[in-house]
Amino acid sequence: MAELSSDGRLADIREDYLALTRRKRLYSGILLSLFVALMASGFMIADARNAGGFWDGIANVFVFPKIVIAEAWEKRAELPAHVVEYFPALLETINIAAVSTLIGTLIAVVLSMLSTRGLARWPRLIPLFRRLMDVMRAVPEIVIALILIFVLGGGPVPAMIAIAFHTSGALGKLFSEVNENASLKPVEGLASVGANWSQRMALGVVPQVSPNYLSYALLRFEINIRASAILGFVGAGGIGYELKNAMTWGAGKYDDSAAIFLMLFLTIVAVDQVSSVVRNRLAHGRASEMLA
């Protein structure tokens, strides 16, 4: 203690501390300026390679929405008719998202169990299944959708398969993280009474993890509705396809576009809200039921 309080030692510590702080600040400063330089140069390159410049465009951002809204307002009496007209397409988009989420979830459950240590059917193949999920996650949906549109023709099925494929990989990874935290005791108990692998998984693991599975699957459903609308725009059916057609007709048909914008917006917001309420309940609520 005597040395510590002596002035020389204290000055050393102070000096060290200040040097450390200076170095940290220097590193942060370099990192920050690098980031700013990247952002600025990136913006300039993007601006140069864009058809219209940023500064010209920013003044005109509201021109197009104004035209659409003005036209839609003029023909507001036809809005309910448009909603009825495009409702089947919206339903198709929602169906694509729902079916692909369902099928993707089912595949993801199996894949995740095959790639979790302690649960895997073939422990040696765990790395294989993990890589498989990585690849499934990496392939953008549009790639699969476009290939399948070429082979199968346009329609909802190519989009559904494409989204389900991506969903399996994305959810499989999340599910296997959930599986890691599952207790192995029920699994061992089931094994001791002679249950086979699928029985052990279905009766020992799934009841433990299903709230987390459901929560992730709902989150994915939100994402998939957006994906299915976007894929429709490149030819896979649903509301995106109708939107593309309405946009191609251009002025005079903007009331159609406005109706589709509105329907898509409301659907996305509604699904987001419902799913976030359900997910909150899955995470926090239901304590009383679980105790019973």
Binding site: A46, G52, V143, L152, R226
Partner: protein
Amino acid sequence: MSMIADTPATMKPRAEALFRRKRLTAVAIPALVLLYLTYAFFAFDVPGLLGRASLDNARALVADTYSYKTHVTRDNADGGLRIAIEGERKGTYAEGTGPDWVQFGDTTTVDLGDGSVVTFGEDVSIDVPGYGIVRAEPGAGGVNATFPEGPMPDFVNASKNRVTITTPNGRLTITRRASEAFRYATGWELFFFTLDSPYHGLSFAQLAVKTWEGEGGAILHDIWFNPMWRHGDVAWALFETILMAFLGTFGAALVALPLAFLAAKNFTPLVLVRQVARRLFDFCRGVDALIWTIILARAFGPGPLTGALAILVTDTGSFGKMFSEALENVDGKQIEGVQSTGAKPVQRYRFGVIPQVTPVLLSQVLYFFESNTRSATIIGAITGGGIGLLLTQAMITQKDWEEVTYYIILVILMVFAMDAFSGWLRRRLISGGDS
């Protein structure tokens, strides 16, 4: 849930009711899923789709991904011969040159492999082993083809003005105006050099020697500006896609951070301001990248900037929501501690709040950066920029499937690389930041 009621007599029916309910859901949920999938099966018209599915397209696609065709075309009017890889002008052989299975002379013979030989002379003929010789004299009256005796086999498709003979490794098509034979070969031809480049056909060792002699720049120039595969353009497109994701994600983070303070309960006591900020986030997220892309493309035109801005606006909504949730979970003690040393509000945020939330926010931003690389591919296809545009363009022509394969492989590699990079950055910045 009063304690007095919990006797075995009252608990047993409760437990039995619970079991019954659980047993019911165990059957009902799979049944509902199955019912819904059955409905979707018919709503999506899967049976009709299977009927319409084109196996020929699938076969052409698969064959084209690993092989290429070389077309030998004879103009029936003047007898002129043109040999071109994939039938494209960019892959045309110079006059009098061609692959070794074409023999030039008064009559040109084209060996289609598997013993089938096409002869272009006064007339056009093909000798198919096991079938015989088909001879055609295309002219004003039609193709005028004569076939061997017997019934027409499956691989021959003949009408007055058009005869197609498909062999295992190629095809001969004769019309009144032109006769065209093509033969498949494995590989991606002209991947590095096109035929007009002086370096075409040289081995790697020869190229190494040329590089040593100072022609390295010219060699790289020929690869980079290869008119068939356009490596330079493809590299730019990949860069544009990453640029869209980068500008969009980090731009959104910069915009969302200050707004998130306005939406967090513990930083903005005013309900009105909080509600406005939150509804703004909901709006940005709800409109979705698709609609933002369409709206912004009207103002900014096609290109990477439009894609970047569409990602920026959408993700401002997502980040705003996530950041404000993170801010609501900060530990107040650290802020109080900073305050007790006499820090002003800005300093309290800088030293009390930012260090707490940075790791959380940064990891979220990097996750989004990763997934936005994929989104930028799709948005590029809509707005007209980046690799997404090249991919859709190559697919719309429906013949350059080897290029489509090439782009797909590049996209997957790009996504892998970005995943690895953002994972590395996350580990460096978040766990390594403290040490």
